[in-house]
């Protein structure tokens, strides 16, 4: 019995859906060039971060959030096909199922991240090797709650409703996280955003300034969302055995 074989085929079939792959890559890229292109070399007010870097990370957060949540869209489609019930009558353990879904989400996220890094370099982003690595590590850590959110949505919603739910949800999280403009250091939006995982994804751009890009608060917010959403995802999966 090799649960990794199962994961491998899940990754393979996700990569084979080229239309899906291209569409999820192309929009963050277009948006990046449109938003960051005109002022790539200017600095974000009051910081030493260029707009090219700020928006590279901002749109990477947008692209990777979508990538993680897209596993939810695939789950919803599989449920409608009755495949979820077919899997329940195999010895596949929930852990192995979640692992396959989370890794598929991360694979998509890494592809999206790589595409934006290339675009960022094209617009003049320049970081030390260690900074690229640190940035990537922070992004991957900040995406954990979205992996759980994707699985939750996939088991609660139908293919019809998950499109608008994801589109709206991601736009809102991106806006409140600072993908489109910096939220400053005061005001209602700033205080609200600090409790959202998407805010900390965007804050990963602070690696360029040296020092710790995330304060303890950032790690706690990510950890809290992860703990809550993982529980919800587990419940949603366990309850979801009926005919759809």
């Amino acid at each position: 019995m090799s649960a990794l074989t199962y994961t491998r085929y899940e990754l393979l079939r996700t990569l084979r859906n080229r239309r899906f792959l291209l569409l999820s890559l192309i929009f963050p890229l277009i948006l990046y060039f449109v938003v960051a292109g005109p002022r790539a070399h200017d600095r974000v007010e009051g910081t030493a971060i260029s707009w090219a870097l700020y928006y590279m990370v901002g749109l990477a957060s947008f692209g990777t959030m979508s990538a993680m949540l897209s596993s939810g869209a695939r789950i919803a489609t599989e449920r409608q096909a009755g495949w979820n019930r077919q899997l329940r009558i195999t010895p596949l353990r929930p852990f192995a199922y979640f692992r396959a879904k989370v890794l598929t989400g991360y694979m998509m996220a890494l592809i999206s991240l790589a595409a934006l890094y290339v675009a960022g370099v094209a617009l003049g982003v320049s970081l030390a090797g260690s900074q690229w690595l640190e940035l990537t590590a922070l992004m991957l850590a900040g995406l954990v709650p979205f992996a759980a959110l994707g699985i939750t949505l996939g088991h609660l919603l139908t293919p019809d409703s998950i499109g608008p739910a994801m589109g709206g949800g991601i736009s809102l999280l991106a806006l409140l996280g600072g993908t489109w403009f910096p939220l400053g250091h005061s005001g209602f939006l700033f205080h609200l955003a600090q409790y959202l995982p998407s805010y900390w994804l965007v804050q990963a751009s602070h690696v360029a300034l040296g020092g710790a890009p995330w304060p303890l608060k950032g790690w706690l917010v990510i950890a809290a969302w992860t703990a809550i959403l993982a529980r919800v995802a587990q419940r949603a999966y366990r309850r979801d055995t009926g005919r759809v």
Binding site: M1, S2, A3, T5, Y6, Y9, L12, R13, T14, R16, N17, E78, A81, G82, W83, R85, Q86, R88, I89, T90, P91, L92, R93, T241, G242, R243
Partner: protein
């Protein structure tokens, strides 16, 4: 096929005890399954026969551990169904399922095989289920009949001790259906336990040792398929015949049930030719005579028709008076 261990052939297979399940409906709870009691020995092939809405699929969902019963117990080879599933002992073809896309048929079967402790070889399953010739095709490009064969392969890949099929041939063409049942026969011959739901009497008759008849969430008859067939393939004689008691009518040759409604009587017959001769010989005054073949639906109605019979917990006896 490589023969895996068959848990206790002839021993305990599937036990359903006092199984009950209700769902919330628009007019209060719908009692989908109400007190189902079945024992299936290991190695038996049993047809779960009944019209749509009889509770077959709900019973199967509980048997597979997909649905928790409101009351009663399920045991599969002496274990709760989820344990039997986790051990890889159960294969199933559920009703109206599709396949996941972007894998070839061969890859999909290999993916499913990897989940089991002792699966059959992928090529063997493809051969067995008639899926070899399109094994390299992507699953989203298959015809309806091909999809059914692949779903059958998914159910078979674990070499299961218990195979459960919920209306397996509904979307199949004639050729696929024939191939499907001949594979099932070979599989059954290896001592595997098979439970299949169908609303085709012919399928139950041709492929099962035993048929369990369900209607309105209950078992209305349970016995060897030939007896069930005789019972279900009955005809009904209706006639206007006042002043003859039900007991007297039931005693006529070929009559298995008699019922009076006002001046009319209805006789459910195991042999309508013998019954009509006997009826006219004994009661020449009978008039307005109609003889109708009872379809499966009518047979179920005849078996479950009056409220008193429907409320009885025991299924009616299979032994027709002779």
């Amino acid at each position: 096929m490589s023969g895996g261990p068959v848990p206790g052939a002839g021993g305990t297979g599937v036990e359903l005890r006092e199984l009950r399940k209700s769902f919330a409906g628009p007019d209060g709870p719908v009692r989908a399954v109400r007190g189902v009691e079945v024992s299936i020995a290991a190695g038996e092939t049993v047809a779960l026969l009944g019209p749509n809405g009889a509770g077959k699929s709900t019973t199967i969902d509980m048997l597979l551990g997909l649905l928790d019963p409101d009351g009663g117990t399920v045991s599969v080879f002496g274990r709760p169904p989820r344990e039997a599933v986790a051990a890889g002992a159960v294969g199933a073809m559920l009703q109206s399922g599709a396949l996941i896309r972007d894998l070839s048929v061969r890859e999909l079967i290999a993916m499913m095989a990897s989940l089991y402790p002792a699966p059959l070889a992928v090529e063997e399953v493809l051969e067995l289920t008639g899926a070899s010739e399109f094994a390299a095709q992507r699953t989203q490009k298959l015809s309806g009949g091909q999809t059914q064969r692949v779903r059958f392969a998914v159910a078979m890949v674990s070499d299961p001790s218990l195979l459960v099929l919920d209306e397996p041939t509904v979307a199949m063409d004639v050729e696929s259906r024939h191939a499907f049942w001949s594979t099932m026969r070979r599989f059954a011959a290896r001592g595997r336990t098979i439970v299949f739901a169908t609303h085709y009497l012919e399928e139950a008759d041709a492929y099962a040792d035993r048929a369990v008849l369900m209607a309105h969430g209950r078992i209305v008859a349970d016995g060897p398929t030939n007896e069930i067939k005789a019972m279900v393939a009955s005809r009904t004689i209706r006639a206007t015949l006042p002043a003859v008691g039900e007991a007297e009518l039931l005693a006529l040759a070929g009559v298995s049930a008699a019922e009076r409604r006002g001046e009319t009587v209805a006789l459910v017959c195991s042999d309508s030719d013998a019954a009509i001769r006997a009826l006219l010989a004994a009661h020449p005054e009978a008039r307005d005579i109609e003889i109708a073949a009872a379809g499966l639906e009518q047979a179920f109605l005849a078996l479950t028709g009056d409220a008193a019979a429907a409320e009885q917990a025991d299924p009616p006896s299979l032994q027709a008076p002779r």
